[in-house]
Symmetry: C2
Subunit: 346 residues, 2 copies
DNA sequence: TTGTACGCGTTATCAA
DNA sequence: TTGATAACGCGTACAA
């Protein structure tokens, strides 16, 4: 087992100084051809590679970016990571992943672990708990220490940084207008409580669409679910909620749901109640997930272009890292959503 | 914007030496209570945290582990990451993620990027291309340089290291025996070409189950698909292949598929051909994915316990990292798979 | 009780 | 053309 070889070892072996070796390997003109050849050959033989940690310390630059997300077993977030990784790698950066698991404390701990020199900047989507507590001190502290942050998807006005978001409002509005176009008269909304920013915006998009088409807002058509409950492990509860919705208003002929699970479950409940999709009821969800495509009938969705969000976030961050001029200007990039029509709409 | 504070700055500010500060912060008995208090108060005020990079360099230990996977937008792999991250964080490690994207070259590049000091050890699942090329030099080099590797799921005998795998053979055998128990007479197998180790083992499990129950092997019941084709973007092609299978042998009443997509598509094709599931045909897939649970009918699967694999892999790696005694003994941990029965079987 | 010196691996600057 | 030195930030053995 041969340990990793260092400049020092090469220098000793060849009986030259460390700095000569360093220069020779970087092809400095200061060094004679002879020495260069000798050193380079030796280095190649022993597969010398500079130690990244030493370089990071010296350059005060790790070439690593940290991404903190609430959950990784989720298509949206894993696609974002894929996008981040793609751009990061292209530009010579590594990606270190931290999971907050929707917990404020874990978010803080993870950031603390990384903020002490391990990375050059953060890409973050807020945990639900953080959104509820509205405690953003850890972000502001990090930013104050000169470490740039790019937030995506779940963002918040209180934090001054670059942001990448999807046009939740427009996406929702377009989806609902599509349903209206398709002659839906009573469009239900299945959404989350308001503290999750994206849920709120999508709800507003729904309202706006109704307003634009002079449709009355009927409160019995809106189902606000507690996003803290993991309905994935509790499908019965979710089905019951949705069934109540159907029963409280028998004329529902369209559904817009702010996530995949709600939309899918709505389809299942509707089918069980003998509605035909899309003839009796049309459904659109807001998601980048895979379930929609494989559902029967397949579910029309508002696609969020998660991977693109990741790519943009990484590009934004790296641009900031590599532009020394620390102009304190922040931008918010908005990714256009896209309505993907499948069998659940006409 | 206050930059991160260092020992040096604190020392200067308080007019003591750097080492005094260092010792005071670590509560050394060498330092007077007075000085300690003063230093600690100051450090707290300025939120001093030791620089990880400097520590890594000094200790030649990064407390970071690298995980290289073929693909992140995939439930199996993201669950593995979740498991790795869970254990790593508990034990004070960070996780840096590299994606090979099923490419040999990217696998090598990613490992090179990380192997030069950035991490203490690797957790890896081989890319398809690596499995095909059977070129494992980069792993052996890494191991020879004293960096431990733990491989999971897609492993290979040629590499001497710790491994975590699911009992693909047993899992497949049990699944097929379940179908036999449920009175299936003609059980088809939808699998991949043999270079992917897990596909091969699952195929062998199928064969073994038939043999154990004195069933003849009918080659027309076995469909071997090219795993290099991304059927997710090419569902029609997949459906055609499977439809041919059905047509070449009309008596199929059971299907075992080595992944979720194959199983799901088989169900869809069967339904289209007017088979009733599970009455006419029963189906079992091998997967940890979400599609199975939400499919109609829901799909029975052999669960791989991906998160547990990640946890075990991380524990194995960290154990090795923290046991200085470099006994060269490698173990292979086998995770028991579990048959999850849903509506596609009786 | 405090401070000095050294080393982790690298590069840049300056001296020889 | 080559080498010595300092610096990045930290911890520790040893000296004062």
């Amino acid at each position: 087992m041969k340990r990793k070889v260092t400049l020092k070892q090469i220098a000793k072996e060849l009986d030259v100084s460390i700095s000569t070796v360093s220069k020779a390997l970087r092809n400095s003109v200061e060094i004679s051809e002879d020495t260069k050849q000798k050193v380079q050959a030796f280095a190649k033989l022993y597969n010398y590679k500079p130690n990244n940690i030493a370089l990071s310390l010296k350059n005060r630059k790790t070439n690593t970016i940290g991404i903190i997300i609430p959950e990784i077993v989720h298509h949206f977030f894993s696609k974002v990571i894929r996008g981040v990784e793609l751009v990061a790698n292209q530009r010579g950066y590594n990606v270190i992943v931290g999971l907050s698991n929707e917990s404020f404390d874990k978010e803080v701990i993870n950031m603390d672990m990384l903020a002490n020199g391990s990375i050059d900047g953060f890409i973050i989507s807020l945990s639900k708990e953080t959104l509820q507590l509205q405690d953003y001190h850890h972000f502001n502290e990090t930013i104050n220490q000169g470490m740039p942050i790019v937030m995506f998807d779940r963002v918040v006005n209180e934090i001054q940084c670059d942001k990448v978001i999807v046009d939740d409002f427009e996406g929702a509005k377009n989806a609902v207008e599509k349903l209206i176009q398709n002659n839906c008269e009573n469009i239900a909304l299945i959404t989350t409580k308001d503290y999750v920013s994206v849920g709120r915006l999508r709800t507003q998009g729904y309202l706006e669409a109704l307003k634009n088409h002079n449709k009355d807002l009927k409160s019995e058509l809106i189902l606000k679910l507690d996003d803290n409950i993991d309905y994935e492990d509790n499908l019965d509860a979710l089905e019951n909620e949705i069934e109540s919705l159907f029963k409280s208003s028998k004329e529902i002929d369209g559904i817009f749901a702010v996530n995949e699970l709600y939309a899918l479950t709505a389809m299942r409940v509707a089918t069980r109640l003998n509605y035909k999709i899309p003839d009796d009821i049309q459904v659109i969800g807001f998601t980048d997930g895979v379930l929609s495509k494989h559902a029967t009938p397949s579910l029309s969705t508002v696609s969020q272009h998660a991977q693109l969000m990741g790519e943009k976030a990484a590009a934004l961050l790296i641009d900031k890292l590599e532009n020394d001029e620390d102009e304190e200007s922040f931008q918010t990039q908005i990714i256009a959503s896209e309505l993907v029509e499948r069998e659940s709409t006409m």
